[in-house]
């Protein structure tokens, strides 16, 4: 057990040193301004954020929960050091201030660090729908939580699961140990299909690798590791027109 804990700590720590990071802001669209906001943000992104050396932005519309219809805009960076600089020029900022700012108000801003070792992105995976599960685990439940994630990732790979899953932990702006696990799907029909046979195959593989009923036992332990309000599901839709390519 101690060995596992040590490995997990090292894995999380070492991977975070050079990990990809996303600064996610919630943008609350003002009443009746959706069309102008959408047009402004799409044009700005296409004009200023499509080249490789520009800042990279990814935009998602929120489909469920209290912020439904608003947006999460993520500045995606290869390391946290990029937050020290901003390649946006005066023209880009001016364009944003003139064509987007009048139509929204700022919500929360958080920094999320991607854990590459616990994420799974198979070749040719696709889909713009995200089913995002937010977890907040107790300090005492850290190992149960991460063991389950580590094993799920392994079972996905071994079972040939065809959709992507990204695991990010909140490195700033949260209270508690918040983690988001993002499942990619080809729309709601794709989600429906992913949670059929592929999920069953993944669970079977999990039990094959870690022992009979291991999936149920580990998922129960992971659930028990959460705080009382430490479980939330949201659906998001990736908006390609409003995002860097």
């Amino acid at each position: 057990m101690k060995k596992f804990i040590l490995i997990t700590i090292l894995t999380l720590f070492v991977s975070s040193l050079s990990a990809q990071v996303g600064q996610a802001r919630t943008l609350i669209v003002k009443d009746g301004q959706m069309a102008k906001f959408s047009e402004g943000i799409a044009k700005k992104t296409q004009m200023y954020n499509r080249s490789e050396d520009s800042d990279q932005y990814y935009t998602f519309q929120i489909l469920s929960g209290p912020n439904t219809n608003n947006f999460i805009r993520v500045r995606w960076m290869e390391s946290i050091g990029e937050l020290d600089s901003n390649s946006a020029g005066a023209d880009e900022l001016k364009y944003w201030n003139k064509n987007v700012v009048p139509y929204y108000t700022e919500g929360t801003s958080r920094i999320w660090t991607r854990n590459a070792n616990l994420s799974y992105v198979p070749e040719d995976s696709s889909g713009n729908l995200r089913r995002v599960i937010y977890y907040n685990y107790k300090d005492s439940g850290e190992w149960d939580f991460w063991r389950f994630r580590q094993r799920v990732r392994k079972a996905m790979e071994e079972s040939g699961y065809e959709s992507a899953m990204n695991v990010l932990w909140c490195s700033s702006g949260c209270t508690g140990n918040w983690v988001q696990v993002r499942f990619h799907h080809d729309g709601f029909m794709g989600q429906s299909s992913d949670y059929g046979e592929p999920l069953q195959n993944m669970i079977a593989k999990y039990n094959e690798i870690y022992g009979e009923d291991a999936y149920e036992q580990d998922s129960n332990s992971a659930s028990a590791s959460l705080t009382d309000d430490g479980f939330r599901v949201r659906h998001l839709m990736f908006m390609p027109d409003m995002s860097s390519q």
Binding site: D31, G32, L63, S64, G65, P66, N67, T68, N69, R131, G187, F188, M189, Q191, S192, Y195, G196, L199, E216, S223, A224, L226, D228, D229, F231, R232, V233, R234, H235
Partner: protein, 247 residues
């Protein structure tokens, strides 16, 4: 009990059935009748045919959202993927119903799975008064919470005289904080609900104890109390509006 967990997992991950979703709508002051009339026209025109989304409309009678509309939709994954704000149906809503909605007051979208095994459907007639019990349970309390619901269903089904209204269980699959379930009880009116509580509820409890052992109802109920998060129990009343709902 393991079976219950497996059932819930399979429901949570089963999206092939119709997905329920709910929104809260604030109607402009003095425009409720007009809203209901126009929402009804839209619903009867676009939401009664096979393959279309189905809508059920309620007025919220109590709580912080009292006076607002709670509109529930059942739609297939295909419908949800192909939803288009420029479709004839959407445009009709925006043109004819939109003017009666307070600006920007369509709040939140919450997705729900209907938990059929934990529901009791009867041929309800004129049961338009609804009491909704809203629970948030701890992950560790899942089994205790649903055991009680499963047993209530069994007891209701075993009663000599069936309740006149149905009992529906839905579990939040997206948009909620925590494990949120709503149990909807149908009655004719507040007095009918009171009558049920005085006459039928004791019979249901008796049947529950007969099926599951002496004092089982009380013991299981106490376990439910412990399964909930702090302040994890809410209640609101709704008025079902058939004229603004799918048939």
């Amino acid at each position: 009990m393991k079976q219950i967990l497996i059932l819930l997992l399979s429901l949570s991950f089963s999206f092939s059935y119709s997905q329920l979703s709910t929104r809260t709508i604030e109607v402009k002051s003095g425009q409720m009748e007009k809203f209901i009339e126009m929402a009804g026209k839209k619903t009867k025109k676009y939401n009664n045919e096979e393959g279309s989304a189905r809508f059920w409309t309620y007025e919220i009678l109590t709580g912080s959202d009292a006076g607002k509309i709670w509109r529930m939709r059942a739609a297939s994954s295909e419908y949800m993927d192909n939803w288009d704000s420029n479709s004839e149906e959407s445009q009709y809503w925006m043109k004819n119903v939109g003017p009666y909605i307070k600006n920007g007051s369509v709040n939140g979208n919450y997705m729900w799975n209907y938990v059929g095994e934990m529901s009791h459907n009867v041929d309800s007639e004129n049961q338009n008064h609804v009491m909704a019990l809203i629970y948030t349970y701890k992950a560790s309390g899942e089994q205790d919470f649903w055991r009680f619901r499963e047993r209530v269903v069994a007891a209701r089904k075993a009663m000599d005289t069936a309740p006149k209204g149905s009992m529906h269980s839905v579990l939040c699959s997206s948009g909620c904080n925590g494990n949120v379930a709503i149990i909807l009880f149908e009655y004719e009116s507040f007095s009918d609900q009171q009558r049920y509580n005085q006459e039928m509820l004791p019979k249901m409890i008796e049947k529950y104890n007969e099926l599951f052992g002496n004092d089982a109802y009380e013991q299981d109920g106490e376990k439910v109390d412990k399964a909930l998060v702090e302040n994890g129990r809410g209640r609101m009343h709704l008025r079902f509006i058939p004229e603004a709902s799918s048939d």
